[in-house]
């Protein structure tokens, strides 16, 4: 079972964001999708959980075609997918424990004690022990991202989607988050899809790295293949050389 996007097109008015984007994340791997700001990475990610519906093309998750699922089935599928938002998107009127417990409360037959235990377990996994009663506003940016990860993993999802997990963080916190993503794969064994424009992060966490450029998948390969590629767009992006990308365009 995997995540696959086939020839996905998406436009907002006259702005064509995705123009035939195709990619597949194999089971158990962490696939990093890179691209410039505004290239449509977040839009692509939102298609996977059915927050957006493609104008054309199909999205497959765990063997189901997302945009054809009826609402009940879509919610069942969403329970298998954890989503880490770019700015954490924690519910600001709730404590961290309540945030992490949200997904668990939707699982029938889960007792209050089980929820409390699982919340503590998830917070420990992201090094936020004792933060249960804090409000999101009382946490730093890095801590909020970690709380967002704890919320995403609470229901033991098969898939984890990370939207810019390290953007706006200092280098040390970035490394902590990257380590956390690796830990999620090793400890929990999830299939991960990480979107980022942080090159260092991509090399650290990705089994494979893909490049989203002008609405399509420009390149996909292992970190070594990315380092060795002569594709001017990929090379220009990875090395921070806009002139290479401009020539290619």
């Amino acid at each position: 079972m995997s995540i696959e996007l086939r020839d996905v097109h998406k436009a907002f008015g006259s702005n064509e964001v995705l123009r035939g984007f195709s990619i597949m994340a194999e089971e158990g791997e962490t696939l990093v999708v890179m691209g410039q700001s505004g290239s449509g990475k977040s839009v692509m990610l939102k298609h996977i959980v059915g927050l957006l519906i493609p104008d054309q093309g199909t999205v497959w998750v765990d063997g189901a075609e997302v945009n054809r699922l009826e609402r009940k089935r879509l919610f069942e599928l969403r329970r298998k997918v954890g989503y880490v938002f770019q700015f954490a998107a924690l519910f600001d009127s709730m404590t961290i424990a309540e945030n992490v417990a949200m997904g668990l409360r939707r699982i029938k037959g889960t007792t209050t004690d089980q929820i409390r235990e699982r919340v503590a377990e998830c917070l420990a996994l992201v090094d936020l022990e004792g933060f249960q009663s804090r409000l999101p506003a009382e946490l730093s940016g890095g801590q909020q991202k970690r709380a967002g990860i704890a919320r995403a993993i609470a229901t033991r999802p098969k898939y984890l989607l990370y939207d810019e997990p390290t953007s706006g963080l200092d280098p040390v916190t970035k490394a902590v988050i990257d380590r956390l993503i690796l830990r999620m794969r090793h400890l929990v064994g999830v299939t991960g899809l990480v979107i980022t424009h942080d090159v260092e992060s991509a090399y650290r966490v990705g089994d494979r790295i893909a490049m989203l450029h002008e609405g399509r998948c420009r390149f996909v390969g292992t970190p070594d293949e990315v380092r060795d590629t002569e594709d001017p767009v990929v090379k220009g992006f990875m090395e921070g050389r806009p002139e290479l990308m401009e020539v290619a365009s």
Partner: protein, 233 residues
């Protein structure tokens, strides 16, 4: 569409049940002080204006008639509706708008919560139930304030005021006020939810939609007020 989806979401009691009680408190109980404040001063003014208008020509106990009828049929429901469109409608639009632009609504979806059942339904249902309660308290306060004013400033006696109050009272008046309050509760909360849900463009967008929610719901309240008068009176 949002209202239709909210109606379909009624079956998700596990999602909205707990929040419904919370919203009844926030929308209803927390709105009581402002509604009572407005009603008290309205009752005082009504009493004084009635006495000023009736001087010499009409018996003074008609002050009770005017205060009672006006508070129940018109000013109680409408002033409470307008006050709560500012307090409740703005609050809902700002809260849901902020949740929308900070991706909290998307987060709810990814956690398998139907956002309409979680956010819209408890607010609209709480509005429908609590607006009539707040309106009833406001009507009571307005009449009480009018009565105290009549006793203290117009030299009327309690029997005189009560006589006027009950003279033209019809049980239909209560039904009329309830219908208005229920419809205003529905309008204020659903319009607040609509503009909150559709907020775009960060803090500016949230601010713009909050203002729109208050303006539109105030206009709809006044239009509905005339509509019910035409249909039911």
């Amino acid at each position: 569409m949002l209202t239709g989806e909210a109606a379909l979401s009624v079956r998700h009691v596990d999602v909205w049940g707990r929040l419904f009680i919370q919203q009844m408190s926030r929308i209803g109980v927390d709105s009581v002080p402002i509604a009572l404040f407005i009603a008290a001063f309205t009752g005082i003014v009504l009493s004084l204006q009635a006495s000023y208008t009736f001087t010499g020509a009409i018996p003074l106990y008609f002050v009770g008639v005017l205060v009672g009828k006006t508070m129940m049929l018109e000013l109680g429901p409408v002033l409470t509706g307008l006050a709560l469109s500012g307090r409740v409608g703005a609050n809902i639009a700002a809260e849901l708008g902020t949740m929308r632009v900070t991706e909290q609504v998307d987060a709810l979806e990814t956690l398998a919560y139907p956002p309409v059942a979680y956010l819209v339904l408890p607010r609209v249902m709480a509005g429908i139930i609590m607006f009539p309660v707040v309106t009833a308290l406001a009507i009571g306060m307005g009449i009480a304030a009018g009565w105290v004013t009549a006793l203290q400033l117009l030299n009327m006696s309690t029997p005189e005021f009560v006589n006027g109050l009950t003279l033209f009272f019809l049980p239909f008046d209560v039904m009329f006020a309830t219908v208005k309050a229920v419809s205003f509760g529905f309008v204020v909360t659903s319009i607040g939810c609509y503009f909150g849900f559709n907020a775009r463009g960060g803090a500016e967008g949230v601010g713009r939609n909050t203002t729109r929610a208050v303006v539109v719901s105030s206009m709809v309240i006044l239009a509905l007020d005339a509509f019910w008068a035409v249909v039911l009176l």
